[in-house]
Amino acid sequence: MKAKETKTKEIQSVPSKKGEIHPMENLLRMDRMPHIWCPSCGIGLAVTAFASALEKANIDPDKISIVSGIGCTGRVAGYVKLDSFHTTHGRPIAFGTGIRVANPKIKVVVFSGDGDLIAIGGNHFIHAARRNIDMLVVCVNNFIYAMTGGQVAPTTPLAAYATTSPYGCVEPPFNIPYIADSSGAVYVARWTTLHIRRLINSLAEALQKKGFSVVEVISPCGMYYSRINKLGDGLDMMKFYHDNVEIRHGEDTKNLDIGFQTKIICGKFVDRERPSYMERYNQWLSGVKGGSRDEG
């Protein structure tokens, strides 16, 4: 992290031609460019896909709030021109729950990494899914804690190396779609950063979904995961995705485990309807004396 931050200071932003406007300028904070992500990182692609999905889904950007936690992906909130919150480690879902329940007119998007959402934030993840809080969770999974320098994550495949598994990871990884599905998410999909168009469509669809939607984005980490495990650079990872991803829509989520450099199954796995938290809340409220609520 240290190395990265000093690096960003040296890089000067690329001078743009006069009058040239970035196509995403209305959705990205151009005054914060260049971003902190390393070359070959996939988070930028995920952000671009999200911005495109926002346009595609045709949602009023004023009514969307984006919440991130800590970590590389945790910095996303700082680059997206929406009401954006960079909160504490593991708590963006809890923070977003507060926003959504206090003001049901706001669509909450939680954009964070695997370590943030599934490790320390695992409890909030399963509970928000159970409550079916109306939010979109974009979980960028790069199999490692990159911001702190490459520690083992609950998504690190068995036997993969990381700085806190110097002799190979001994813990089996989470299957994120499975845990999301079993806790009650209404929309679960997984894509890699190679499948940009599919990812955009999926995000746009999930944004319009009512309820707890999870989109897992598998992203290369050239700086740590690939380097420690000698997997080449970003391009090699993209090639790997190209050769080893199989798209199986509607696959049973229990078959979606990811091993070390094994086949990755992508697709949309769950798309169902369940009453959301606010729906249940309002239903309860209408049964209570004097209870009325016009919002949401």
Binding site: T8, H89, A119, M147, Q151, T164, P166, Y167
Partner: protein, 413 residues
């Protein structure tokens, strides 16, 4: 008792403070380390993951900081020495379980590499703003020990000392280091195992049916047991009597919780370690700890060149606070100068112990850097010149503050 030769990585190293602390823990016989990555403490955990399996120390990276400290407490009650490693935000999360550890009189060590705060703050740079938190951060009344090393060699030595104190007084011991010391690379000498003194755990050895987990010895510390020995342990975090059974009467709170604080307060003299230099005839004494004490050396040197009589008092043990030492010094000196990388924490305790007999000057620093030694020498100089008694802590206006708020800076990321 001597350290076990298999645990001690004897040799001369050129390593950073984090790694040295990790090696120190291994040498002290730590057999389980549970951690969660957080900048800038990760290197210590990484070092233990690397070397641990080779000396029979198990490591586990838990799902969050609650998990890591709970696992440490569990490991201690299963009979092994254990530690966890964290930094500011993680430390805040551990607060509930630290109080729990104190209540159960669980000997464990916590290494906190402080960073700039509050909240996420400046993760990669230094700070000393968790000092008060280490004393007061959990709810209810308890006392614990906090040590503040100032070099990688000390990180090694004092990690061993921390384990020894923890075992001796059956209480949580905090190593309150900071990012500067944690990431400072220096020569570290790890001696042979027979030169390292280790405090063995005070296990109960009598007949199982007579065991009372919280019945104190004369030094107020009870004997400990471990799970699985057929003692039928009943251990609870509620206020409990000698047997460990919960009590509901407030009379007992006065009795049993009182001992938790008294066992540290009354053994204070044995616990406290200070490093004093030329305080005998000093006009001004610089009180510091951790990385600030290394910067203070330079400040003191500059002030001495100007002919001011300056002494230095370094708090190696920050908690329990050396009240008596400050009270004594306050009678002799004009002023205390306290450089800290925060906006006033330990300085309030210095002021408290002065009882209006000496002036107290705080040199604040928000973190993300260390003091400018010139600020320290200037503060010493003006404190030496001041003849009036001033009530309250005088906040020295640092060069940094002047630059930031008077000239006005435009920030660029």
């Amino acid at each position: 008792m001597k350290a076990s030769p298999t645990d001690v990585l004897t040799g001369i190293y050129y390593i950073d403070g984090d790694v040295a602390a990790g090696y120190g823990a291994l040498a002290a016989g730590c057999k389980l380390v549970a951690g969660y990555p957080i900048t800038p403490s990760t290197e210590a955990f990484e070092a233990m993951c690397r070397m641990g399996p080779q000396v029979g120390t198990v490591f586990i990276q838990m799902e969050d900081e609650f998990g890591s400290i709970s696992a440490v407490l569990g490991a201690v009650w299963s009979g092994v020495k254990s530690m966890t490693i964290t930094s500011g935000p993680g430390y805040s999360l551990m607060m509930e379980s630290i109080g729990f550890g104190a209540m159960l009189e669980t000997p464990f060590v916590l290494l906190n590499i402080q960073r700039g705060g509050p909240s996420t703050g400046v993760p990669t740079k230094t700070g000393q703003a968790d000092m008060m938190q280490s004393r007061w951060g959990s709810h209810g009344d308890y006392e614990l020990i906090a040590i503040s090393p100032d070099s990688p060699q000390e990180m090694f030595d004092y990690t061993i000392k921390a384990f020894n104190l923890a075992e001796k007084y059956r209480c949580p011991v905090m190593i309150m280091s900071d990012e500067c010391v944690g990431h400072m690379t220096e020569k570290v000498v790890i001696p042979e195992a027979d030169k390292i003194e280790i405090e063995p755990r005070r296990f109960y050895k009598g007949p199982p049916e007579k065991y009372l987990p919280f019945s104190p010895d004369p030094d107020l510390v009870p004997k400990i047991a471990k799970a699985g020995d057929g003692l039928g342990l009943y251990i609870t975090g509620r206020v409990h009597d000698e047997r460990g059974y919960p009590v509901k009467n407030e009379e007992f709170k006065a009795k049993y919780v009182r001992r938790l604080v008294d066992k540290i307060r009354l053994n204070k003299d044995k616990i406290i370690e200070l490093k004093e230099e030329s305080t005998d005839d000093a006009d001004v004494v610089v009180v510091s700890y951790g990385i600030s004490s290394r910067v203070a050396v330079k400040g003191v040197e500059i002030a001495r060149q100007k002919g001011i009589k300056v002494g230095a008092l370094r708090l190696v043990t920050v908690w329990p606070f050396p009240d008596e030492k400050i009270i004594d010094l306050a009678k002799k000196v004009k002023a205390f100068v306290v450089p800290e990388i925060n906006y006033g924490q330990i300085v309030f305790d210095v002021a408290r112990c002065c009882h209006g007999q000496a002036n107290v000057v705080l040199i604040p620093h928000g973190g993300a850097g260390v003091h400018n030694p010139l600020d320290i020498s200037d503060a010493i100089e003006s404190a030496a010149k001041e003849d009036k008694k001033i009530e309250g802590v005088v906040e020295f206006k640092t060069r940094l503050e002047k630059i930031v708020f008077e000239r006005g800076l435009k920030f660029k990321e």
